[in-house]
Amino acid sequence: MTALAAQLERWRQQSGAVRIQPAAQAVIAPLASGSAAIELDHLRRLLGLRLRSTASQTAVDGDLPGSELAPGLRYVERHLDLGPADAVLYTDIAGFEHIDPPRLLHFDTETTGLSGGTGTRAFMIGVADWRDDRLRIRQLYLATMAAESAMLETFASWLRPEHILVSYNGRCYDAPLLATRYRLARMHNPLAALRHLDLLFPVRRRYRGVWENCRLATIERQLLGVLREDDLPGSEAPRAWRSYLTRGDARDLRRVLAHNDQDVISLAQLLRRLAIAAP
């Protein structure tokens, strides 16, 4: 920060320097207060930043669903009756010709951004699996950034070697993103060893050109008849989470929870629809 410090020093010295009456009127008088304040002000001026007016302190709706598993780590669980689980699923997906449903772990993450790279993280992980003929939906999400490693640890503790991950575009998006997060947390990546069934590929193979696109929302509407109400688009999730983090406003974060919940349910139903009758 030498440049800024030097600048500060110049301002200090100026009182002792020869005082010139400037020809222009547009000379901004240097500040004489605390050093940090001057540096900050100088930086702000350089950046053309205006201090954002502190938000009006009206009460915000900061109500977070679920319970606290660890400081800042929230947990939501529910069970859903979707009719009895199949004993075994047969598919034409290579490597997954017959699947034992209790081994399936449907998952989906919500992330702080879509641009990828080390600065993008998952702030929510939703998981659905079959338990006693019902679909169990578990969601982990962060109320603080520090809770990330607790979330990664908890998610890892749910995974067993016999699990098959089920996702929609997870091979290219969610799994590499989590791999990065585990790496940054200096933890072993528990996903690497598991089989992973990404439904995007079979869906594309089967339905490309049939509907306008292969986004999960389109597929679930066309194939499963799911119509989401008050759905917060996935692209809005980063903003929703930041509003909670910086302003404590949880309204949209709750809509992200609902969206993620529907995503993992749709995954489970989609896989059933893709299954074929026993050969």
């Binding site: 920060m1 010139i20 400037p22 020809a23 240097p30 900050l40 053309g48 930041r242």
Partner: protein, 804 residues
């Protein structure tokens, strides 16, 4: 008229038939015939090689590979580098072009890769150099079956190859931009690479100066942060062309102590250098024949003599113009392969490769190039290098001269001065080129905006903690500003990235604003991208109506989509080229310091600059006459930077000058001279330091009109009369042409008194009577007879600012 004349004054007549002559003989003949144009001549004697045996500690397979490639001993600097790196030192090797410097890093990198499976990252400033380096490594690898995997990793690397390179590349050859935008922000994918990273090689470090260099320091800070995360502390091996402060520059780049190896053991042939000033063609106005006409003729003589010739020009436009002139002579038969080629940035990679191949194979006799060729791109042996204009630094001058003489034969380098005042100043002071160390490379890594950009990128890569340094100091204020703008979140002691963006994409290491312009050819219904142009050059070269030359083929810009960064062009057959007219105005925002300067004052502070391209001139080929103007309508470019400036109170001006117009002319002439000596004083690139004359409150600014007289313009650009301006206080500014300033105004401020003295001496020592392009700027014949000549007026201003 005068220009046409000058084309004719330098003819082949009177020169001995040069067919089959060597470069030294050509140099001697030119000296005999044009003695009055040559302001300096120097000869570097030939030097024989200083050899050392191959080191004992070299792995046997590597030794065999070297021997298979015909390398049975090392030059002394290669052996010294091997020893120093072996001791664990960070090293900079400073040797001339073609001295085998790459072996200085290849040996330790390959030896360590073979014995300890370590990995290395090479950074080159251009993709072309990276390509060459990989080729060289792979040849060595094949010669000894060493099991090396060397790959380039840059924007051209296909997606499906990237994973394999990350996982298995022994040597990854990339560039700072790719490291910054493609590697560091994805460092987790490179985890194994960083864990085993032992050497970082940075070649051509002299090219990392100014803004680019300041960015690189910060990219390296980020690189070291990431390495520390993976538990590695790689060693640096740096290479540089000859500059005045290689050790200090290397240390400024990597912020660690560095061992410098500066004595080359490589042999070279005799090297002749001529400094060439075009003849005066109008002594009254101090006008000289154009450098272009002289360079063109010298290149013709050299090619006729059978000498392989390289002509460096300062701009892409000049490359195209000179190429056309030479092609008109040597390439008029389209059935024969071209003997003349242009080479510059902005061509597509394939086209560039083809040009390089043609040059290496020797089928081309002359190449006309921009600085794109300055950096060791291998184009084979050359005899003669002609510099059409001073390249902006002594180091670049020597490096370009160094392209000639690779065969240990005599080489000839000729610097042809342009009418640019800096050229004229330097060409008359040959001492700048002899003996004196080339200038110092300058960095300003803690320039607040650059620093802020990289702190943002670094925070994306790994979170910061309270009290963390980046470089040396605590950076909490930067983190706080980033938190205020919503990209970081402070929680506990950590500053975490929370924005939904990829910050490296918004930061270009090479220019102020990101976004190259593409040039789209729409001739005959096509839609082909034929070139790319830097953002910084776009306003000056891609305005609607501009003639844009590509391989000497003129295209006219029909439409410029500024937001979309596209220029649409069609092929044309006009006989002119175009040149932009631009001006700037300044407003003082804050003053840091001030002091009395003679009867006036000198100040130092922050300014706001608005630059505008207002129109363009059409200039006919060969005659260079101005055949018309066109208007340009582009957004203003704004800049917030630092400057120094001088001003005189109105009472002093009223007493010292018979009219305000005279005072204004005096300030314009003084600005011209001050800018000239300041550029040399801080060894700035001319474009990094700019001058302006205007009112300190930004109410008006002045520019020389076509006749060399000051014109006063209001903020809207309209003409104003100096007599009507309230509070007439002209001010001459020298400003740093980079947002926030890149460290030029500080040293200028410290030397402000000296600059006035030097500017005065420059004008007083000039041979002209009334003023000329070498002192106060071009003047009009009518001013010759004036009582108060522009020269006298400028001297009067400087005398009033002079502190005895």
């Amino acid at each position: 008229m005068s220009a046409i004349q000058s084309e004719l004054t330098l003819s082949d007549r009177g020169l001995p038939r040069m067919q089959g002559a060597d470069a030294a003989q050509l140099g001697a003949a030119l000296q005999r015939k044009y003695a009055e144009r040559i302001t300096g001549h120097s000869v570097q004697p030939a030097r024989s090689a200083d050899y050392r045996p191959l080191p004992e500690s070299l792995p046997a397979a590597l030794r065999r590979a070297l021997q298979a490639r015909g390398i049975n001993q090392l030059y002394s600097h290669q052996a010294e580098a091997w020893d120093a790196v072996g001791r664990g030192a960070d090293v900079v090797v400073v040797t001339p072009t073609a001295s085998g410097k790459s072996l200085c890093y290849t040996l330790p990198v390959v030896a360590s890769a073979m014995t300890q499976s370590t990995r290395a990252l090479y950074l080159f400033p251009t993709k072309a150099l990276a390509q060459d380096q990989v080729t060289e490594l792979l040849e060595l690898n094949r010669a000894g079956d060493l099991g090396l995997r060397a790959h380039t990793f840059d924007g051209d690397t296909p997606g499906d190859a990237r994973q394999a390179i990350r996982l298995h590349g022994t040597v990854v050859v990339s560039n700072p931009d790719m490291l910054h935008q493609g590697i560091l922000p994805h460092h987790t994918k490179w985890a194994q690479f960083f864990e085993n990273l032992r050497y970082i090689v940075i070649d051509e470090i002299h090219s990392y100066r100014g803004v680019f260099g300041s960015h690189l320091v910060n990219v390296l800070r980020r690189l070291r942060r990431v390495c520390a995360f993976y538990g590695s502390t790689p060693q640096f091996i740096l290479c540089s062309a000859t500059i005045g402060n290689p050790k200090a520059h290397a240390e400024a780049l990597i912020e660690r102590e560095v061992t410098a190896i500066t004595r080359s053991g490589a042999p070279h042939g005799e090297r002749h250098v001529l400094l060439w000033n075009p003849p005066v063609c109008n002594p009254d106005l101090g006008l000289r024949a154009s450098a272009r006409s002289q360079s063109n003729r010298i290149a013709r003589l050299a090619v006729r003599a059978g000498l392989k010739t390289l002509v460096f020009a300062q701009s892409r436009l000049m490359v195209e113009v000179l190429t056309k002139y030479l092609k008109d002579v040597f390439d008029h038969d389209p059935r024969k392969p071209a003997r003349i080629r242009a080479y510059r940035g902005g061509y597509l990679p394939g086209e560039r490769r083809a040009a390089e191949r043609a040059m290496r194979s020797g089928e081309v006799d002359a190449v006309v190039s921009t600085s794109a060729l300055e950096l060791g791109v291998d184009i084979g042996s050359l005899d003669v290098v002609v510099l059409n204009g001073y390249p902006g630094s002594i180091a670049a001058t020597w490096q370009r001269f160094g392209r000639a003489g690779r065969r240990q034969q005599p080489a000839l380098g000729i610097l042809v001065a342009s009418s640019d005042p800096l050229d004229q100043y330097l060409i008359r002071h040959p001492e700048f080129f002899s003996g004196a160390a080339p200038e110092h490379a300058r960095l300003h890594a803690d320039q607040p905006l650059i620093l802020l950009d990289h702190i943002r990128c670094a925070a994306f890569e790994l979170p910061f903690h309270d009290g963390d340094g980046f470089g040396s100091d605590a950076i909490d204020p930067f983190l706080q500003v980033l938190a205020e703008s919503g990209v970081l979140h402070h929680e506990g002691t950590r500053w975490e990235w929370i924005a939904d963006s990829y910050p490296a994409n918004a930061v270009s290491l090479r220019s102020v604003a990101d976004g190259n312009f593409v040039v789209v050819d729409r001739s005959e219904g096509r839609q082909t991208i034929i070139a790319e142009v830097d953002y910084s050059a776009a306003a000056l070269t891609l305005y609607e109506g501009a003639i844009h030359m590509i391989q000497a083929q003129p295209y006219q810009v029909e439409r410029l989509d500024w937001e979309g960064r596209k220029a649409f062009v069609t092929r044309t057959h006009v006989d002119y080229y175009t040149d932009a007219i631009d001006y700037s105005r300044l407003k003082v925002l804050a003053q840091f310091e001030g002091c009395v300067a003679g009867a006036g004052s000198a100040l130092h502070g922050e300014v706001h600059v608005v630059r505008r391209v207002s129109g363009y001139k059409k200039i006919r080929y060969y005659s260079h006459e101005n055949i018309g103007y066109g208007p340009v309508n582009l957004p203003d470019q704004e800049l917030h930077t630092t400057a120094i400036w001088w001003q005189l109170p109105q009472s002093v001006l009223d007493a010292g000058f018979s009219s305000r117009q005279d005072a204004l002319d005096g300030f314009l002439g003084a600005a011209y001279a001050l800018h000239l000596v300041a550029t040399v004083a801080v060894m700035a690139e001319a474009r990094d330091l700019q001058k302006s004359v205007g009112s300190a409150d930004g109410a008006w600014f002045a520019a020389a009109d076509g006749r060399g007289r000051g014109q006063l313009r209001a903020i809207d650009g309209g003409l104003a009369d100096p007599r009507d301006v309230p509070g007439f206080i002209p001010t001459v500014y020298l400003y740093d042409n980079y947002p926030g300033g890149v460290g030029l105004s500080d040293p200028l401020w410290r030397r402000q008194g000296e600059l006035v003295v030097q500017a005065r001496a420059l004008i007083e020592g000039c041979a002209c009577r009334a003023g000329c392009p070498a002192c106060v700027g071009p003047i009009l014949a009518a001013d010759e007879a004036a009582l108060d000549t522009p020269r006298a007026l400028a001297l009067r201003v400087l005398n009033l600012l002079f502190v005895p």
